[in-house]
Symmetry: C3
């Protein structure tokens, strides 16, 4: 499948070329500290983010159960690029730029829908087949300049039921290595045999990097009372000697639960070793299987399974939560009974879409097998709380008086995200 | 009448002068193809459009029945220029910049209204006479610097009841030649003896050039089921040998109707010859009298007259539809029983006002002589459909992956519009 | 107390440095005339206004009764700078930049509220004491880079119960001289012993300079029927010989009332001499005690006191209206029975907040001592009328056809404001 969108020449900014402008911003960053304010509101850097980060990396946009049947499509706006995903009748999934080869109209106009054998642009009825080839044009025949025209393809990769796209001509090649490592972790949760129980779009009035930073640490989790019920409050390296008596008791309890859980994971043949490749490569990712608190079954208020139908071939509900994170735009929680996917897409320098999707076993019925409110409650509340936090951060970092402060130890993944981000821009701009 | 607004010096853009910037964009256009995406969203080009296209050409803003009485005024925003039209007591129509010579306040603040003998600025009560001369200033006398101040005039021309304005100091001189040619076509429809049955403002989230392009071809008319009832689907050069049997039958039917109609037009002494001067001159225009389908009387769902009172001295309703188009901003349908005028004004690079006005004979009464819904239905529906089409085009051409495609034969007027647009910018910038 | 926000380097604009750009605009101004249109809509000049005018001068933001108790806070956005005022338990008032020293989040998020002994950032629970010192960080101890961090302070000055802030490192030093002169005028009105009867925020779709200009002249007051009941229509120098018979009678009446009033002011030991230092210094100000029309007691529809409890130790209600104006953002009316404060803050080049606050004696009870509608009516109506005027001015001056007109004699304070504005920009940019 050939290349996608040609990249625009970076425009000069106030006489300063984009490359130099981004270089100066990156130079102003101090390692181990929060990012300077311009990283969250500079319009030129945002344009670079769209083009060089979102335009050149693998992005998670949907999971397979969002397009269950042949003919199902979904449309997306990746920055200024309208694209669509299409499930073909043979079960394969393809993606194209959603712009007619005639006068550019968006061909598929709904967020999701079903098409027949061909795609027809609603403006002048130019007709494309499933492979994107122009095969007709209203009543008239194709003229010479129309011959051979086809919708511009977008690269697609699948990983255990998760669908990723990449707009670049030459997408990062390390996706397959990630997929090979992650497949054994993810496949047992059987995403292709799930269905969507709920999908919620939330728009945060904040830069996408604040959304990602927020996801990369639990230093702020005291502000999430619902989430805190199922999570143990121990992340990163713990120094037992510095814990209070109460904390030490909790830590012992955590250690015991973790030993039990690991024994169970081993019995079930589930991998659980931490993989942390968050920087030093284009497709930064990380996975970790966390033991859960309380009953230890799921991310619910009572820490028990939300759905009585476990995923795939699971028989034991106490599998903890497999966390998976792929830079730049997605994270996932894989539980025994359900999966939650999160995809972020930047809408403007200070505006970000967060799409949360809850997947349950394809046979699970609402009311009988699960209660929708119980299934979704924790992340509905936690997302809402996070939206307020990142929006207040956006307002604060907009101040010329803001000066980046030191990160703490438990924010190590925030630092890794910063490193990855800097590496990727420097690589793209040859800085 | 002296000159209007001084033109601003084109500001340099990112170090590139506007002139060079526009030149590079024009050079990137490929003849016979759709326009590159930047033509529809580049902010600098949009500024050039406002200044060099809308600021220097004749614009249709109203027809005479919109200001029937002495003292009637209407206000308009031509890009950043607030102006107003005023019917004087002697029946003449004048236009001024709607900005007080004191501290700039808009003097007339409603979309339409009636003024007394003088115009009074509501801020500090500076008073102007009908000729725009400052004649008073609240309670105090005019000081020396106030003497001789007058509202800045805007050029006005009338053509058979249609009112055009031009903001330029030296308006294009070819208006009168167009008027001389068009007067015999338009005058029989007696616009000055009509009244406004309905006026609807529609805002399209699209560049004004997409609005005009949409109007310049009927290649997309299959998407207009209501409009298609009265229009024959034959535009431009038709090659009979390439038609299907069904199409050929329809074409024969069209040819017969056209022969009949032309005979009727000749009997009625109505000119009907195509005039196509869409480019090669500042005031690009085109007229064509189309035969209508079905009963052939009017652009209605049943193709019969909407109003029982025909316009002017018409006695035969089967006069077809006289189409008239004036670049850059207007088109018209003149029927035996009513006239529909369309004026577009750009509001932003991606936002355009389309004002549609239905005129009926001054004596026609709603309910008795016409049904308002029947009169307006086709263009209400068609405008709504077109708004969706151009808005989806705007979203599609915003993609960096959009690549202009080839125009088809029936889009010849789109190509002529492109040529005119390029010519006018090159002339204005001496490119 | 140490310095506040570092000022940003002026960015170059389209290759033209900000300094040169502002210099060219200032050069284009003609003394004795309205300001050129760019002064009200140029984005670069607006950025300069925020940084050099609002970022470097004393701004009135609140009066003491808005923060009556220890722990009371109020938040403000001064252009891009979120700040807050805090009343400490010892009664002092401090101001800080409202951005956490960790990752920049706004610490106080409501427009007004109450805090405990410490300030806690809601994101990661960094804790600051009342002096702004970082004293804790969730459960963990402060690491070395956190030691010594403190919220960045903002300068605060109080004048007879009015609270001013300044974001600059080195605030203008002439505040104290103004305070020394103004204290005898203002202190008798006892603002610290008032309470807020009403506060209304109005957003005007206009540049802040149009808001200030509007306040600086009563040439337009014929458009304020409610306000005109209490104000005599004589401002600036009056030439009796040019008055009509009717005007002369009114002027005699005004002179008589004024003689009476001055005698009363002298008896009450109240200063009333005009002080006019509107330019030639950073903190431009002006005060004038105006005699009121009718009963002469207050700015109400019936010109009688709105509140039966007079302020401070006043026993005579007929004290006229002490007008006080401080550049760039505030004006005040001090009456015997109430005080009205007005603070403007620019929100965008064409959008300005006007906050009006009515203060009555702390013991006055609504319903018993005053009727809220009667107290607020004049300025509610007048503000609404002014909003329309400045919004129509903003629309008019946006026209490239707008040409600044001559100011009249009674607009002398508008001219003084222009002079001050030009002086301050030239001083800041060394032009």
């Amino acid at each position: 499948m050939s290349a996608a969108a040609p990249l625009r020449d970076p425009p000069p900014l106030h006489g300063v070329p984009l490359r130099e402008h981004v270089g100066l911003l990156l130079d102003s960053r101090r390692r181990g500290y929060a990012l300077p304010g311009a990283f969250f509101r500079d319009e030129a850097l945002f344009a670079a983010d769209l083009e060089l980060i979102f335009g050149r990396h693998w992005l998670f946009v949907a999971s397979e159960p969002e397009l269950p049947e042949g003919g199902d499509y979904r449309t997306y706006d990746i920055g200024p690029y309208p694209i669509f995903l299409l499930r073909r009748d043979d079960g394969s999934i393809v993606a194209f730029h959603n712009t007619c080869r005639h006068r550019g109209t968006r061909i598929l106009q709904q967020p999701a829908g079903v098409v027949g054998a061909n795609l027809v642009c609603p403006y002048h009825r130019w007709v494309y087949d499933e492979a994107g080839r122009l095969i007709g044009c209203g009543a008239s025949e194709l003229s010479a300049p129309m011959m051979g025209l086809r919708l511009k393809p977008v690269h697609v990769k699948r990983l255990a039921g998760l669908i990723f796209v990449c707009l670049a001509t030459d997408p990062p090649e390390d996706f397959d290595a990630m997929a090979a490592q992650m497949e054994p972790y993810l496949a047992p949760h059987a995403v292709p045999r799930t269905r969507v129980a709920k999908q919620i779009d939330l728009i945060e009035q904040a830069n996408w990097k604040l959304t990602i930073e927020n996801n990369r640490e639990c230093f702020h989790c005291a502000g999430h009372p619902e989430l805190s019920r199922s999570l143990f409050d121990f992340f990163g390296e713990i120094h037992e000697e510095s814990l209070s008596a109460e904390e030490r008791a909790a830590y012992q309890c955590f250690q015991t639960a973790r030993q039990d859980a690991m024994a169970g994971w081993q019995r079930a043949g589930l991998p659980w070793q931490l993989i942390e490749k968050l920087h030093g490569r284009p497709t930064g990712f990380r996975t970790d299987r966390l033991v859960l608190n309380g009953a230890g079954e799921s991310m619910t208020l009572d820490t028990r399974s939300a759905s009585s139908r476990l995923l795939g071939k699971f028989t034991d509900a106490r599998l903890g939560s497999l966390h998976f994170h792929v830079q730049p735009n997605a994270w996932f929680h894989f539980l025994a009974d359900h999966v939650v996917t999160f995809a972020t897409l930047p809408l403007a320098a200070g505006r970000t879409l967060v799409r949360t999707t809850w997947l349950v076993d394809a046979e699970a019925q609402e009311g009988r097998d699960y209660d929708l409110d119980n299934l979704t409650r924790i992340w509905v509340e936690t997302n809402r709380q996070d939206a307020t936090l990142v929006e207040e951060a956006q307002r604060g970092v907009a101040s010329p008086a803001y000066e980046p402060g030191p990160l703490v130890a438990s924010e190590f993944m925030v630092g890794m995200f910063h490193s990855w981000y800097e590496e990727r821009l420097r690589a793209a701009l040859d800085l």
